[in-house]
């Protein structure tokens, strides 16, 4: 619930200041946001989202890519692909935005994931919501088993958070990172090929929970691949993304069946998605 001085309402945002911007890829920037008095605007759990707004332009729902274990600030990794995101990309350190949230449910890091092996599969900007989960698990390493991370992008230049992947994730205990890019590229000696194909090539065991996020077409083929490998629907989690305005299950946009993705999601297990009308 946001405190805006004279009253509290879930539709009224707080003001946040941009204290850092990292150019991740040609079209993705990560924005570090703080409360004006320092610290975080609010607490969140991995997978939750927030509405970020450039007043006078528009407001949009973005996953919070930093982990709750980061006590200093929150981060949003945002790909430039529309009117709002273009405006966001034009902002600089010292500019304020409005933020409201956190909204939605979260990955069950404290329940179903605990003590389990985890397999993260991400494509492109789909890494943003998973990064929050991965860093949460790494910061509470003793609570989780083996962690496998399969991440792919169009090109080597489009891999988000590559520095952190190489410096932190690849060096963490009992963590295996598999990177891939869609097409051959000069200077890239890693794997080349689409994520779903690489997934089958590696051939992960089914002794883990699969957590998938990426473009819809990738999710579709990854799911198919996981099922061929013997994974059940109850073993696979993903996030849904639909247009949102209110964030609190009332404005009607992200309604699928009796669910509102902003409030009942964005995190769903595949058996839960199977029960929804096929309209996402």
């Amino acid at each position: 619930m946001c405190d805006c001085g004279n009253s509290k309402d879930m539709l009224v945002p707080q003001v946040g200041i941009i204290t850092g911007i990292t150019q991740e890829t040609p079209d993705v920037k990560t924005f570090r946001v703080n409360a004006p008095d320092g610290g975080k605007l609010f607490e969140h759990m991995p997978g939750q989202c927030a509405m970020v707004c450039v007043p006078g332009v528009s407001e949009g729902m973005f996953s919070i890519t930093s982990s709750p274990t980061n006590k200093e600030y929150q981060e949003f990794s945002i790909k430039k692909c529309g009117i709002l995101t273009e405006q966001l990309h034009s902002l600089e350190v010292g500019d304020m935005v409005t933020v409201r949230g956190p909204y939605g449910n979260n990955f069950p890091v404290e329940t179903e994931f605990k003590g389990k092996n985890l397999l993260f599969i991400a494509g492109g900007i789909g890494l943003a919501p998973l990064r929050s989960v991965i860093n949460y698990c790494l910061d509470n390493r003793e609570n989780y088993g083996r962690i496998d991370i399969l991440y792919g992008s169009r090109s080597a230049d489009d891999l988000v958070k590559l520095q952190e992947i190489q410096d932190v994730w690849m060096k963490a205990p009992n963590v295996n990172v598999y990177l891939t890019i869609d097409r051959e590229q000069e200077g890239w000696d890693g794997h080349v090929g689409f994520v779903p194909t690489y997934l089958k090539e590696i051939g992960f065991k089914t002794d883990c929970i699969g957590i998938v996020c990426g473009p819809p077409i990738m999710i579709k083929f990854v799911l198919q691949g996981l099922k061929e490998m013997g994974f059940t629907d109850e073993q696979i989690y993903t996030t849904l993304e639909l247009r949102m305005k209110c964030g609190i299950g009332k404005c009607g946009r992200c309604n699928i069946g009796s669910k509102f993705v902003c409030k009942d999601g964005p995190v769903f297990r595949f058996d839960q998605i199977d029960e929804l009308p096929n309209e996402y």
Binding site: I17, V57, C246, K250, S258
Partner: protein
């Protein structure tokens, strides 16, 4: 039970409006719609005619400001000596000021049984966690004076949804009986309002409204759509209804104009937008419609990209998804406004009938 002569009804309205805002059907450009009562208004016909739009605006206005944002840009050459926040020099400063919530009581007169039930539907949405404070403030301050339907119209079918138009449930219920309007407080709020106008009401015998109730029921019985069956709709019907071929056969005339959603007393989808003024940025919410192609459109091109999908969504929401989410309650009250106003004569009655026909094996 009290009564007042209908010829003196403006005295009653004046008295109420003297103490708080009064919203009631107002005749404008030949149409009746809910609006604010003004002294000397022409109230002829407001006790019998159905309003084009419902009373939804009184609780969930078509436009309302949520908050204002003041934006201050620090010139580049002043940045160094400028204000700091979280250890960072502020380039663009934003200040958010929430709009004042409704804080005065108001009376809505003339809502019918269907409109009153529609407020129950809106309550499910806006008062469920997290509560919408803008809506809640209006609900807390509203006093509803309902009116039994003296002349139900051909498009009416509220009884299908279990509503009794002869006996509306509100803070005060009223009935047209001969030359009089009968007045019965039903709640604490209603009793308080009644006390404030008691000197212009006279005592009445409750028995007098029984004939009016019987008349209303008799009219409803003869109306063409009141025998509609909701069997096969409601909770747990998503798979069966969503995947039906019937949608593809009936949606085509839909123009996607959204008229049905705007006249509907229960449609509550909204948009939140910006309006830039000379003093800053006003962030407001306004009604929106699931019938519009850009309602759900995202940069990636999804979802519900065809009118068939959007048409199906509206009726599935009212007859299946809403009951699924809110204890079986339908999000339609049978007011018949969409039946009156759809330019293509396509409406919820046609949808229900088409499914009934298909399920009995008939051609749609």
């Amino acid at each position: 039970m009290y009564k007042i002569a209908i010829k003196d009804i403006n005295t009653l309205f004046s008295k109420i409006a003297g103490e708080q805002e009064l919203i009631l059907p107002v005749k404008k450009a030949g149409q009746y719609n809910f609006g604010v009562y003004e002294e000397g208004a022409d109230t002829e016909g407001i006790l019998t005619n159905k309003t084009v739009k419902s009373a939804k605006d009184a609780f969930f206005p078509q436009f309302e400001t949520l908050y204002n944002v003041k934006k201050t840009i620090t010139p580049a050459d002043e940045l160094e000596n400028g204000e700091e926040a979280s250890g960072t020099k502020i380039r663009t400063k934003l200040e958010v000021q929430m709009e004042e919530l409704k804080d005065k009581d108001f009376v809505v007169f003339g809502m019918r049984g269907c409109d009153v039930k529609a407020v129950d539907v809106l309550d499910k949405v806006f008062l469920s966690d997290p509560v919408d404070n803008y809506y809640k403030a209006r609900r807390d301050h509203s006093i509803i004076v309902a009116l039994a339907c003296h002349e139900p119209e051909e498009s009416c079918f509220c009884t299908v949804f279990g509503i009794d138009p002869s006996d509306p449930k509100a803070d005060v219920a009223t009935w047209v009986v001969g030359e009089d309007l009968y007045w019965k407080p039903m709640t604490e709020k209603g009793t308080k309002l009644t006390e404030s106008v008691k000197d212009i009401l006279s005592d009445a015998d409750e028995g007098a409204i029984e004939e009016e109730k019987a008349n209303i029921k008799a009219i409803m019985d003869k109306l063409p759509n009141t025998k509609l069956s909701l069997e096969g709709w409601g909770q747990g019907k998503t798979d069966e209804k969503f995947n039906s071929e019937v949608w593809g056969k009936i949606y085509n005339p839909c123009l996607g104009c959204g008229t049905c959603t705007f006249v509907c007393p229960t449609c509550q989808c909204y948009d939140i937008k910006d309006y830039t003024t000379k003093d800053g940025i006003q962030r407001y919410r306004c009604w929106d419609s699931c019938m519009y192609s850009d309602f759900t459109l995202m940069a990636g091109g999804q979802n519900r990209t065809s009118q068939l999908q959007r048409f199906r969504q509206r009726f599935m929401h009212k007859l299946v998804y809403f009951p699924d989410r809110y204890d079986g309650m339908f999000s339609c009250v049978g007011c018949g406004r969409c039946v009156d106003k759809c330019p293509q004569s396509l409406n919820i009655i046609k949808v229900i009938k088409a499914f009934e026909k298909a399920e009995k094996g008939g051609a749609v």
